[in-house]
């Protein structure tokens, strides 16, 4: 790596002339300049708006039955068509967005707190590290979706249980990422200096280590949001999510599956909404990684 710079000899002097430490504004500007980040942000804003303004977008209730309006294909009156009970698919999809985002947010918050805490403690107190990481490894040995299925199946179907199942699966993954960046930060000179100056553990963790491990955590959380939304839909498609008739994207697709010959829009639209949401989050994650995580910045 060092030599690829030397290879260009004269040219990279300019790149090196850019300011070394990035300010918050600088990060925001670089994010804004990142094309796919901007695109992801736009898509995600649309999804959030759809969820936030659900009652305005669709004045019809998501569970309102209309037996005379069954299986209507998408049209001007029913933008996303209707299902076997004549329920408005537009209403069900935008209300489904609410639940998806809610579950995603809850999982992200829980991970941010517990994942960061476990990771920071394991990375900082080496005595804890071995034990915590062994358990982490074991949980991560299970394929993520399968473990979530197992936990959700055992706990029974409900939204809080779904959040719990997803958190159990993803916290070790978050913890591991925080831990490795804590280990790196811990060895930095200014942290060593703070230790030498007699600062307490808690102070060092809070003042020096956590703020400097934020970048990888942020990147992880945005990808985690994407996984959580995707896994939630998968589980509720398998009948492990909120009880019907609650409109979750997975539920809608599970119910629509038996009519996919006659009314493919029932599954096509929530799936597309799901794919767009996941893609938006992945694009945001890519942007954050390129801008925030200096180890990977070179790759763009």
């Amino acid at each position: 790596m060092a030599d690829s710079v030397a290879m260009l000899d004269g040219a990279p002097q300019i790149a090196a002339a850019a300011p070394g430490r990035s300010t918050r504004w600088d990060v925001a500007r670089r994010l804004w300049r990142h094309r796919s980040f901007r695109f992801g942000l736009g898509l995600f804003a649309i999804v959030i708006a759809a969820a936030a303004f659900a009652p305005w977008i669709s004045p019809i209730e998501p569970n309102k039955l209309a037996m005379r309006a069954r299986f209507l294909p998408p049209s001007w009156d029913h933008l996303f068509g209707t299902d076997n009970f004549g329920r408005s698919q537009l209403a069900r999809v935008v209300y489904g967005a609410q639940l998806s985002l809610m579950i995603g947010t809850a999982v992200v918050v829980i991970n941010a707190v517990f994942g960061a805490l476990i990771g920071a403690l394991a990375g900082y107190f080496r005595q804890l590290d071995n034990m915590v990481m062994r358990v982490n490894d074991a949980v991560m040995a299970f394929p993520a979706v399968l473990l979530a299925i197992g936990v959700a199946a055992v706990l029974g179907r409900s939204t809080p249980n779904m959040i719990l199942a997803l958190s159990v699966v993803y916290i070790p993954r978050t913890a591991r990422i925080v831990r490795s960046s804590v280990i790196v930060v811990r060895q930095m000179e200014y942290v060593q200096a703070a230790v030498a100056a007699g600062a307490g553990h808690w102070r060092i963790l809070r003042r020096h280590i956590l703020p400097n491990s934020m970048a990888p955590l942020m990147v992880q959380l945005s990808f985690l949001f994407a996984y959580a939304v995707l896994t939630e839909a998968t589980l509720s498609f398998l009948g492990l999510g909120a009880e019907p008739p609650t409109p979750t994207w997975g539920n809608i697709m599970a119910e629509g599956r038996q009519y996919m010959r006659e009314a493919p829009w029932i599954i096509a639209i929530p799936g597309a909404a799901l794919a767009i949401t996941v893609m938006a989050l992945n694009l945001l994650g890519d942007g954050l990684r390129d801008v925030l995580d200096p180890r990977l910045r070179v790759q763009q």
Binding site: R134, A141, V145, L146, P264, I267
Partner: protein, 316 residues
């Protein structure tokens, strides 16, 4: 090399112990009285007692744990009350189906994931690169069950090219196997293709910048040797570690895909066990799949060591 293999296997032992312990503990998370839940509201106390006995819930926890490990060693993970079969037997009957589907999918993943990642890296910042990365981004964002359903609608319902579901064993009819497995394998592979393409691209870009690639060019080697030998051999080392993750995703994905395409594999076994609250089957299926993955990861680690002489000779 022998020492590397030994180290990896020894390193997996605590993981296996913890994995089995977690699986055991999982079943104790079932809220309320399992026997009541399983037997239904109308079940008599005697019936519930029988269910408890079958699940081994009538004994103290440490005895249960002891029996669990005892059974594990003998390959006895209890009986599926729904199938009326031994869990181990039921799993192993279905395993070949899942393995053949996953293997097909893995082949597609490696072929298209590696290829598009390498091409994108070699044509960095051209339209080829952008198209490949857009495709990869769509791949990692699409729910595989939805893709499967959409493919059924298009290729089976409208065009009538391929069957909507079902499974034909390869040994019985290779063409039939191909017809029955192609759509499931594609829908299953999409995520992993995207993932592998993205990782391959960034790894190749990293490797192509290395000094030894410049040395290879300075020796006057043709491009196919510079890229296909010197760069690729180094890029494969980190890529191989990703294969473990890819296989894990494939197997998780197979659970859902098998349900969508009505393929009688372990995945479908698990989903029907979930619907029927067949707890021993859920537990056993989860455990066997995880142990299979632990084994695959040992193989991946060994392959890693074999590819990287620095690890091969120093024991890593």
């Amino acid at each position: 090399m022998g020492r590397v293999i030994f180290n990896r296997i020894a390193g997996a032992v605590p993981v296996i112990l913890l994995v089995t312990l977690i699986t055991f503990g999982l079943m104790r998370l079932i809220p309320g009285d399992v026997s009541a839940a399983l037997g239904g509201i109308s079940s008599t106390p005697a019936e519930r007692e029988a269910i408890r006995k079958n699940l081994g819930l009538d004994e103290p926890a440490h005895v249960q744990l002891f029996k669990w490990y005892g059974g594990l060693v003998r390959g006895d993970l209890g009986r599926s009350h729904f199938l009326g079969k031994d869990v181990t037997q039921a799993t192993f009957e279905r395993l070949p189906v899942t393995v053949s589907l996953s293997a097909y999918s893995l082949v597609l993943t490696l072929l298209f994931g590696l290829l598009s990642g390498i091409v994108a890296a070699l044509r960095q910042n051209t339209w080829v690169d952008q198209a490949a990365m857009m495709f990869a981004m769509i791949g990692v964002s699409m729910p595989n069950f939805w893709l499967g359903l959409m493919m059924i609608v298009l290729f089976s319902v409208h065009l009538g090219w391929l069957p909507t579901g079902g499974y034909v064993p390869f040994t019985q009819d290779p063409v039939g196997w191909l017809r029955s497995c192609t759509m499931p394998a594609i829908s299953l592979a999409m995520l992993q293709i995207g993932l592998l393409a993205r990782i391959t691209r960034s790894t190749m870009l990293e490797v192509l910048r290395q000094d030894y690639v410049r040395t290879a060019r300075a020796k006057g080697l043709p491009n196919y040797l510079v890229v296909g030998k010197h760069a690729l051999a180094n890029a494969l080392i980190p890529i191989v570690t990703v294969i473990g993750i890819v296989v894990s995703l494939l197997i998780s994905g197979a659970v859902v895909t098998e349900t969508v395409f009505s393929i009688p594999g372990v995945g479908q076994l698990l989903t029907s066990a979930i619907l029927n609250r067949d707890y021993p089957m859920i537990q056993g299926g989860l455990l066997y799949i995880t142990l299979l993955l632990v084994g695959i990861n040992i193989l991946v680690d060994v392959a890693y060591a074999w590819l990287d002489p620095r690890v091969r000779y120093d024991g890593g």
